[in-house]
Every structure is written in C-alpha cells, then in structure tokens.
C-alpha cells in the first residue's frame, strides 16, 4: 500500500500508472455496469467474456474494466474495446464469442454487432464516431468509461488528484475562490447561484465549517448525479477537498440517496482508498491540511434538496426547511458555517483548477459557463445522459443527439427541471439552454432532467402527476404549499375525471400565483410551475377536458375510449390475443371490434397495433 506524504511522490506514481496504461501490450475492455445495464446482464457478460478469452489463451492481453454509466443508456450494456475504441451496443451473452474472435483475436470489428446509425443505415465502429457521442462535449462525464470506480489507481491514471495537489501547493485559498469566480461556476443543483459567492461568504466566517455534497437527486427522471457518483466517485471527493481547502473546512458530508445503493457502496470504497493513500484524513500530502469525509444516507424526501432541510436531516432530524433569514454559509449544519453544492458542481471544480478558468469560461453562454449534463428521458429515441456546452439548443439535444421521437410520433413538449420546472412546447425548441433562457420560458434548468413527451402524453395529467408528487413531498409546515397543493390537486383531478367547470383554469392560476409569492421554501414557490406552464402553453388541452369532456391524448380514462378503425384493421388478431380482458373479437383477416363494457382501457391494443388501427375517441 502506498501512502503519499508529499506532492512529488503522488506525481511520480501517477506518471508510472500512465506509462503502464499506455503500454501497447495490454488492451482495455470497458463494460458499462450502471444499474440500467445490470438489468441487461452486464455482470454475466464479464464472466462469459473471461471464459471465452481463456479459451483463446488471451486472457492476460486485455483488462476487463467494469465501469459506471457511459451515458448512452438506450444502447446498454455497452462494451468499448481499446486500442481503437471499438464500440459494441446492446451486448448480449451470445455475442461474446464473435466479439472475442473478431476483435480480440483477429483485430477487426464484428461488423454485424456494431452500432447502426439510423440516419445513414451505416455501421459505425468507433465510439467517437457514434452520433450520440460525436455531438457532445463530455469534459466531465467522458472519463467514466476509463475508470473503474472501485480502483483509485484508475482515477489517478487519468490524472486524478493532480488538481488537489496544485490547489494545496501552488495556490492560496483566496486564489482558488478567485479562479472559481472567474470561471463563473454556477450551482448545478438547480438554483444556478454562483458557487464562488457562496464559497467566499463561507470562507469569511469563523469556527468549524462544513462542506456538504447534495447527492440526494430527488428529481424524478434525473440521474446524472447517480451516474457521476457511481462511475467517478473520486472526482467528487477531489472537488470537495479543493473546496474545503479554499474555505478552511476540515470536515465534509456527502448526503446520498438511500435508493442508490451502488452509489453509496462505490463512494464508501473511494473514501477508504483515498484515506489509505493519504489523500483524505490528516496532513494531506504533507501539506498540513486535514480533511475528513463522511457519508450520510438520505431517507427519500424530496424536500431535502432544500439546503436547510438537508442540513436538518444530516443532524438526524426530520428534513424540514427553515426560512433563510440567516444564510447557511453563516449558520447551517450544526449551526456552523456550511457550504452545500450538488454533485455536478463539485465535479466541475477539479477541472477548473486543472485547466484554468479561462478554458472553462470559453464554453457556454454569456452568463452560464461550462458544460451541463442532462438526463434525456421519456419519449425519445436515444435515452441517456448527455453532456453539452451551455447554450446548446433544445432541438440539438432532443433531435440531433437524442434522435427525436420514437415510433414516428409527434413531439409535444419537453419538461425540464423536474417538479419545480415546466413544460416547454415545440415553438421554443430553438432556445439555447442555459439557466436564464429557461427561466424566461417559465421553466428552469434544475438539476438537468429533460423529459420528452409525445402526442400520447396528456399535459393536464402531467401537471396532476407533478402536483400529486409534491403533495407527497411537501413538508407541510406552511399553509400556501400544504393547502395550495391540495386545492390544485382537487381541481386537476376533477378536470381529469371529466367534471371540470368554467373558472377552473383561472382558479389554478390564482392558486399558483399565491403559492409562488407566499410559500416558505423553494419547493412551495416553484411547485405551481408545471401547472402554470401547461396552462400557458397548452390551454386548449385544458379546455378540451373541461368543455368538450375529451382527453385528446387518450390518458384520462373517463374521457376517451378505444375504437378499432375498420378501414385500417387488417384482422391480424394480435390485439385480440394480447387483450387481458378478452374484450376484442373478430375473424381473422376481418376488422376486429372492442367490447366497450369489458375494456379496461389498459392501452395494450393501442401500443401493439402495427397498423395504427386502434384509435382514441
């Protein structure tokens, strides 16, 4: 075991590792093993791969590295083979012999297993040429595929902890804060508040101080923090170390979701390894700087994304927020000065220290710098984690990188910012995405959740979904949030059930405005956003529910029924076979019919019909 007590020892060790990694005798097989890929057997793939390599006597020629998320989740599990960066998507167990024989033994790609570009219909061999990756700038997330999260050496091999060494030995705390300031790093958790202002304020207060990482990621549909923490935990630790040194803190906490067991495990291991190497604990690298880092597991409460609530939770209390008359940078965790940033914010710090504020600030828009990781999910072809420079347009993200809407359906809206965000319609697709532009549209960037919705999504139902979520998650302390949400839910429910009446839309607007003005914390003030933006951009859909008693998208069960279009039906019998209620009847090659009495509107027939013969009426 190595323990570094000076900067030079660390640097020469890194050089040794890098020389070894570049050795031409050993290749690297990197296999994505995030939870999404574990569902698809990525752990068994490793075993089969090892067996197959042994058969060919080449087991020692390649290192198999189980890594965190590669981002292109729709194509998981993903295997990339170096040298060459040969990219295999959706790897299945039975593909392994062919991959081993073609690529590892004969050094050529297994043509039929390569990624097929849906636009050109051509096979693409190299990862860097896959359109999904080609259009991104993965300065933070791209290293995931080179790193075994359970090995500190693989982080060091990509130059890890060199920014820490630079910060400790070549910079004064004030210079670090100045660097973060001129990079204009804004908090990635959602608020977009300049990190340097928080850091500076915390550094000026005396007494024990705490740095905290918010890894609770409560936004449904967002998982970039999980991807980073699982795949590259040392990056977060290094960022926190640099921040702690700049602010004069000696103790830190990572507050991580209980629902992310792999992230908790990988982070715990990373902390242990960093301690063993002398990168955490006392007298780090012989600099005289002490810092200790702990993990605290969250309890599944969305409101704990609010900094004061999170700190209450860290203290072992219910996670209820308080009004921020006094900032947490002065009185936060244990009533001491505390600085809280989100996972992605911390992940940016080593990069800025390494490459400099100028390099960083060259990416992005006037007031939002650097890159942002989005979790692109919902009704989109290429689901996954996407990292692009700030200012990339929604259209580029959803259509160029995301590949557009599956099954030739129509784009309807994109929901950004989770339950505190809003739904953005088609006419704003060319908006450059940054903190301020999305705010102008009534939505927010939030932590980076981007949920794409197509013609089959009912906007009233989506609004109701978010309000229902927020009712569950409101801490209940203040009236506007607790009661306002309940009343909104009552109105939305009656609209969805076909009992909406004139004045309901105005009532929702009034309730929303009241909550925005008078709620205690960020959860309550942003809670009406999904309702207000859907009213703003999809008022006609609300009106169809209220006045025509119709749900145009076919989601609100009391307001529609399924019918088979006689003209389009070929009598293929698939729907009749799949119907769980046996509600569909008809002769082969003759138009079928749905018995409305038996139909439970489960939508299976609508989803599976290849001829678009099932219609929503």
């Amino acid at each position: 075991m190595v323990k570094f007590d000076n900067k030079e020892a660390l640097e020469s060790y890194i050089q040794e590792l890098q020389a070894k990694a570049q050795s031409p005798d050993k290749g690297l097989i990197s296999l994505c093993s995030g939870p999404g890929c574990i569902i698809h057997n990525s752990d068994k793939i490793r075993d089969t791969l090892t067996e197959e390599m042994e058969k060919h006597g080449i087991a020692d020629k390649y290192e198999i590295r189980l890594t965190g998320c590669h981002g292109y989740c729709e194509q998981g599990p993903i295997m990339v083979i170096d040298p060459g960066g040969i990219f295999y998507p959706k790897v299945e167990l039975e593909n392994i012999p062919q991959i081993v024989e073609n690529t590892l033994v004969n050094n050529e790609p297994a043509e039929k297993l390569l990624f097929k570009d849906p636009a050109t219909k051509k096979r693409v061999a190299r990862e860097e040429d896959v359109p999904f990756y080609k259009l991104q700038t993965r300065s933070i997330f791209g290293k995931n595929r080179l790193i075994d999260p359970n090995s500190i050496d693989s982080y060091l091999a990509v130059g890890g902890y060199q920014s820490l060494a630079k910060a400790l030995f070549e910079m004064k705390p004030k210079e670090i804060i100045a660097e973060i300031k001129s990079a204009n790093l804004r908090g990635r958790g959602g608020g977009g508040f300049p990190a340097a202002i928080k850091w500076d304020s915390c550094s000026r207060h005396k007494g024990p101080k705490y740095v905290i990482c918010n890894a609770d990621e409560g936004d449904p549909g967002a998982y970039m923090d999980r991807g980073l923490l699982e795949g590259n935990p040392h990056l977060i630790i290094e960022g926190m170390l640099i921040g702690a040194f700049a602010m004069g803190s000696h103790e830190g906490y990572v507050y991580v979701r209980h629902e992310y067991p792999l992230a908790v495990a990988n982070l715990a291991k990373a902390i242990d390894h960093a301690k063993q190497y002398g990168l955490l604990g006392e007298d780090i690298l012989g600099s005289g700087f002490d810092f200790d880092l702990h993990i605290s597991k969250g309890g599944g409460a969305f409101v704990c994304g609010e900094s004061t609530a999170l700190m209450a939770s860290l203290e072992g209390k219910p996670g209820r927020p308080r009004a921020k008359y006094i900032h947490t940078s002065e009185k936060g965790f244990r009533d001491s000065p505390s600085n809280l940033n989100n996972v992605e914010t911390w992940a940016n710090v080593p990069l800025i220290i390494d490459k400099g504020a100028q390099w960083y600030a060259a990416m992005g828009t006037d007031y939002s710098k650097g890159t942002k990781i989005f979790s692109l999910v919902g009704k989109v072809v290429n689901t996954g984690l996407v990292e692009v420079p700030m200012g990339t347009t929604l259209r580029e993200i959803i259509f160029d990188i995301g590949g557009g809407i599956p099954k030739k359906k129509q784009f309807k809206a994109v929901q950004t910012g989770g339950p505190s965000g809003g739904c953005i319609p088609e006419q704003f697709l060319d908006t450059p995405v940054d903190f301020d532009e999305l705010t102008k549209l009534g939505s927010i960037m939030g932590s980076g959740g981007m949920i794409v919705m197509d013609q089959d999504t009912c906007m009233v139902d989506v609004a109701r979904y978010f309000i229902e979520f927020l009712i569950d998650e409101s801490c209940g302390q203040c009236n506007p949030c607790r009661e306002g949400l309940k009343q909104m839910m009552a109105v939305l429910t009656r609209i969805c059930e076909g009992n909406g009446k004139q004045g309901d839309i105005e009532l929702l607007e009034e309730l929303g405005t009241m909550m925005q003005k008078f709620s205690l914390c960020g959860l309550g003030t942003s809670a009406p956003n999904p309702v207000l933006t859907t009213i703003l951009y999809f008022r006609d859909e609300y009106e169809a529910h209220i006045y025509d008693k119709k749900c145009p998208a076919g989601v609100c069960k009391p307001l529609f029924h399924y019918e088979i279009d006689e003209e389009a039906c070929t009598g293929c019998t698939l729907c009749a076979k799949k119907c769980p209620q046996e509600a569909i009847s008809g002769e082969k090659k003759e138009p079928h019919e749905i018995d409305q009495e038996k139909c439970i509107k489960c939508g299976i027939c609508y989803d599976i019909c290849k001829f678009d013969a099932v219609a929503i009426r």
Binding site: E74, P220, Y223, E259, G299, A301, G316, G319, G378
Partner: protein, 160 residues
C-alpha cells in the same frame, strides 16, 4: 415473514454501536434496522431512545417523515414500482394496476400471506429502462403488463 416478534437485540446493539450511539445518525440506524426486518419494530423505539438519549417523539417523527422507514410489518418481497416522470410517461400507472390486480392489494399494502408488499418510489435513476420496478434489491426493467405479472409469478413460485 421475516418478523415474528423475535428481535435479535444483539444485532440491534451492533447497529447502534456501529454509529457510536450518535444521535445525528438516527435516520441511518433506523434504515439499518428497517433493512434487517423490512420495517422498524415498535419495540425497538424505547431502546433506541434510551441509547441515543433522544425523546421517543423525535424517533417517531423521523420514522414517519422519511419514506424509506416503515413502522408497519412488510412482506418478504417488497415490490417498489418506480413512478419517476420517465416511467410515468412510459406507463408506470399500468404496471401498478397490473401488480395490484395480480396481488389483490392496493399500493402500500401487504398480501395476507405476508409475501408481498407493494410500494412506489419516486425515481430509481434507471430512466432508460423504464418502466422499472425492484423486488427487494433486484431491478427489473422494460416492463409491460404481462412481463410485470410474469416476474411476480416467478417470485410466488420460488417462495412456495
């Protein structure tokens, strides 16, 4: 069921010791006990209150505030359907309906034989594989009505 009124007090002590009886670790201690029995047996609460030197009311308020803690006995298999936005737009509601129909219970309830508890969770971060659910710690993705029911049936078979 995992729980039959027998509490392994030694294990409970170990958990408390692991956190050095630190009252700031109350939530994590409750989570560990919850993991052991699939819920927090009410008998443990006075003991915790004494060892951590906190009022029982605080323990109840923490246990009821956070979703990961249950004070009611739960089944051997906890089916947790993800209702995150990505799963919602891909039909999580239909999966819940299917499991409810199959197990003849509502969300939040446990089957009479104590085998299954059905719950929902706000996001498991596996959005690309949605709709997803977990059964205990095993993740199942790309579900539709019939595959969801098949998975539940497999667990039933394995249990009998």
């Amino acid at each position: 069921m995992a729980y039959n009124n027998d509490i392994d007090w030694e294990k409970i002590d170990d958990i408390i010791d692991e956190y050095s009886s630190d009252k700031e670790s109350l939530l994590m201690i409750l989570q560990d006990i919850n993991e052991l029995y699939n819920f927090v047996p009410p008998e443990t609460i006075p003991v915790l209150a004494q060892k951590l030197n906190v009022p029982k009311s605080l323990i109840y308020s923490v246990a009821t505030f956070y979703k990961t803690i249950s004070l009611e006995p739960r089944g051997k298999y906890i089916v947790n359907v993800c209702t995150g936005t990505a799963c919602h737009v891909r039909g999580a509601e239909k999966i819940i309906d299917a499991v409810q129909d199959n197990l003849q219970i509502d969300t939040g309830q446990t089957t009479q034989d104590g085998l299954f508890t059905l719950e929902t969770v706000r996001c498991l971060g596996c959005c690309a594989a949605g709709p997803v659910f977990t059964v205990n710690k095993n993740m199942h993705g790309g579900l539709d009505r019939s595959s969801a029911i098949n998975i539940i049936d497999d667990y039933k078979k394995n249990a009998s």
